[in-house]
Homo-oligomer: 228 residues x 4
């Protein structure tokens, strides 16, 4: 055991950093943009947090705005596919599918740094219409489409009442938005609020929504179930 791996040789270090630099910078930038907003985040802070100097940031991103765009792009890309892929092949009840959909969203998106992007878009959308549009096309619309298909499946299979799916989608999304924001927004972040476990919360809300959507009221289901 002659060469202790714990001591990194500088050469290796330099090389490895070069590969990882952009990622480290994007991560630092995401955190700060989410916390402080675009305007209030200084490039030097991003650099500091990534452990490099101011100038290095501009070695990888030509401007603050481009860095911002990259932060948004990199944290959005193809996460949604991971989400929807799984759902196509589900065979159980639509209530259960809804619950799984919401939990899967949490696992794949809500609990990841990607949720910070949503907060960012809420805060900065007005200032960067172009980026907000991209976010809308890449996240909001596909997300809605996925949820709508879940609801529609329930209606098609006679499990849910034939209401306008968008009303239900709206309800589901509000739960997801709240959860995503609660990790990044001071007022939703505080002691009392976050005492509740996200997964628990999602299960509760999924059940609540499914009940509300049920074709026959749960009681009827229950009594009907009781009669059979």
């Amino acid at each position: 055991m002659p060469a202790p791996a714990l001591i990194e040789r500088p050469g290796q270090r330099r090389e490895r950093r070069k590969q990882e630099r952009p990622g480290e910078l994007l991560e630092a930038a995401l955190t700060l943009f989410v916390e402080k907003g675009y305007a209030a985040t200084r490039i030097e802070e991003v650099a500091l947090r990534a452990g490099v100097s101011k100038g290095t940031v501009f070695l990888y991103f030509p401007s603050k705005l481009e860095l911002f765009k990259e932060v948004v792009h990199c944290n959005i890309s193809n996460r949604l596919e991971q989400w929807s892929d799984f759902l196509q092949q589900f065979e159980g009840s639509s209530a259960e599918l809804l619950r799984l959909t919401m939990l899967l969203w949490w696992e794949r998106i809500g609990s990841t740094p990607a949720s910070g992007i949503s907060k960012l878009m809420m805060s900065e959308g007005h200032n960067f219409p172009e980026i907000a549009d991209f976010f809308h096309r890449a996240v909001i619309q596909p997300g809605q489409r996925i949820l709508r298909s879940v609801i529609q499946r329930g209606i098609d299979r006679g499990e849910f009442a034939p209401i306008h799916p968008d009303h239900a989608v709206q309800g589901v999304i509000s739960v997801m938005v709240f959860l995503a924001l609660s990790r990044h927004c001071a007022p939703l972040n505080s002691r009392e609020f976050m005492s509740i476990d996200p997964v628990h919360y999602l299960n509760d809300q999924a059940q609540l929504i499914a009940r509300g959507l049920a074709r026959t009221s749960p009681a009827q289901q229950a009594s009907g179930g009781g009669r059979s």
Copy 2:
């Protein structure tokens, strides 16, 4: 009559403006802070929107930060009382009380410029801990207390299942947060989303939550209640 109404005497006019100036400035500032964030809002823009010159803003507010604080303070104060006052004396079912509470919140707070403050706190809370704390003490905590008392009333009267009230409060608040934000955040603001009427949405959600909280399911309540 001697005084032609068409010709405003400058003195009067000036006098009137002087009284209204702070309010006009606060209104302009609120709009811009909500839209663009604190850092990205320039004092000159606020002045322009209020129809005065940059210097005038500093006549009424010693600094940008103080203006910001005032915007938060003025739009929060005593709205909550208006909200809770009414609820003390309600005598109907707790499900109905919950519905009324949510609708009243919308009428007195959610649909007013005060909702912009919530968006502001979500965006800027991290940057201004002092103000965020004030917001938390003045809005979040009292709001939670009001909602908790509504839920507790339902439990005490045997209408709601004896679950931990905070879980339900959480659900109600997420609906309110979503609605408040949807008026000010680009991504929630878009075509599809806002096709739904807030009052309608609140009614739906109130009903959903009440069902979920019901000691027995409404159907059971109805039939079971009849039988017992």
Copy 3:
């Protein structure tokens, strides 16, 4: 005589400065751009030389480049007209007209700050093609046209040999360029060189060129004159 004019009242001062500011800034900028070049001139230096602070420059010119453009524009405009107007109505010999043209150029253009613009264009033309083009259209081409018309007049009246006018124009311009640059370029600026008086120099050169252009050689003129 109560108010001593020597003591400027601050109010007056402020007012007057506001009117004169742009001119003062342009003058300071011209001097520095000519001396140090565009890139090496710092805005703060311009401000300092004009007796104001950095920020004030941006109150009047949106960017360094715009300031540069304005410096070029303002020092070029309509000087050439002043030059050519006079020449239309001249009735003497073309040799004399050429001499007057050159002296008038010195008086109206060469000896003014406008000559600095020529030096600037020589130094910075490559970096600012757009501005160089403007300079070419606004100064070079009209200037050549004026000189060419003077030469052409001599040819038409049989005073000058019917050579290609441009060759002569070239010679005249080289004299003017040299003189314009000698005021602003270190190497041409030095002791020995500038011991010669510009007006004297111009007279000499004008005579030289006129002789060279003369239809008959001076000797023939002289001997012819002797015979008559």
Copy 4:
């Protein structure tokens, strides 16, 4: 047939480059300094143009300023000797000597990259007094001395009128300056101007100046000389 010319052995190549590097760098730097000015020229551009990396420049020149100095030094050194050497032994008329002097200047200096140095000094002289002084001592003064000796020779031999030689030197230099600059300055560089061939132009001007300097007019010389 051992060494296939197509395949350069790296060693040789590297060796050869090593020798040529400084020259290639100086050449690239000269071009860029002349075109864009000192401040606007980036070291990286110089490197790029010389086909090496930024760091390599600093291997050969300790700083940008030193590179600049070297550019000036290397392009000035001993060219003037080449010029003057030839002139010592000339035996023809002084008018012819003047013509040859100017043409030789063009061949040895004016048409070479050295002319760029003159442009550089015109543009940057103010910023680098030390270098401008060197240029003055190494180029301007010797150049004037050479021209003055030519004129003086003409006066001594009774060919030129006994005027102050500097007036004539001035005239000759203005022609040379104009020609040197015309190759590097945008405004003098343009279509119309450069339609004239430098050698042709120099011949014309040399003749013009010689005529102007002639003790008696050439015609008189011719006839008078014949008669006497």
